[in-house]
Amino acid sequence: MPLLCPTGLSPLATEAMKKNILLIFRNPPFANSSNSDTLDIALACSAFELPVSLLFLSDGILQLLNHQQAELLAQKDLRKRLNALAMYDIEDYYVIDQDLIRYQLSVEDLSLACKVITQQQLAALIRQFDTVINL
């Protein structure tokens, strides 16, 4: 296996500024803290002018369901903070059509205005980003 690795390369400042980041939400609400942790990364990146996009993949779309009542479980409602994203200039959200179909959902059932992409478009979407974080 020919593996060649250029050492000592670092991004030029201008290159660094052009970086963009995709954050993937893969877990349902209340499962663990990963959705909340991922959201906090989004807010932090926004403070650093790093362009952020969000992908709600698999059970991640369940985080967006309307009519949740987190307070019944004495939990904070993550959707309130998700709704704040637009105020942080984070407005690029994606879901996959198959995930909607699997749970018999439509975009109207979701609390954010997501772009629906097909399963086949997922790989091309990922390709557009310099960094992907998938907690």
Partner: protein
């Protein structure tokens, strides 16, 4: 309220320990201890920031605070320069203190 009474209600960064205790009078008292004068312009920001928290369960950072000010009070007040004149240390942090909200997400 004297300085000692006020400090007892705050953590050592000056944020309210029990958010439920907040009211306007308390905010004025805290400002007085800081020798900081809350004008009606400051109150506009304090109310905006509380509104933001009610809606999003989050103390806003600078960018959303500016946005929200612009939405509600127009472009002149929706500028970071304007907010920095009112709260010279850091508008999101200082206003969150007087608004009785948690410290904004620690980003730096």
């Amino acid at each position: 309220m004297n300085k000692q009474q006020a400090l007892a209600l705050l953590d050592d960064e000056g944020y309210l320990l029990d958010l439920a205790l907040w009211d306007q009078e308390l905010a004025e008292a805290l400002a007085k201890v800081d020798q900081f004068n809350l004008t009606s312009k400051h109150w506009e920001v304090i109310y905006i920031i509380r509104e933001f928290y009610q809606e999003y369960q989050l103390s806003p950072a600078m960018r959303p605070l500016v946005k929200m000010m612009a939405n509600k009070y127009g472009a002149e007040k929706g500028r970071s320069i304007y907010l920095l004149k009112l709260f010279p240390q850091s508008p999101p942090k200082q206003a969150a203190r007087y608004a009785g909200l948690p410290k904004p997400l620690n980003c730096l």
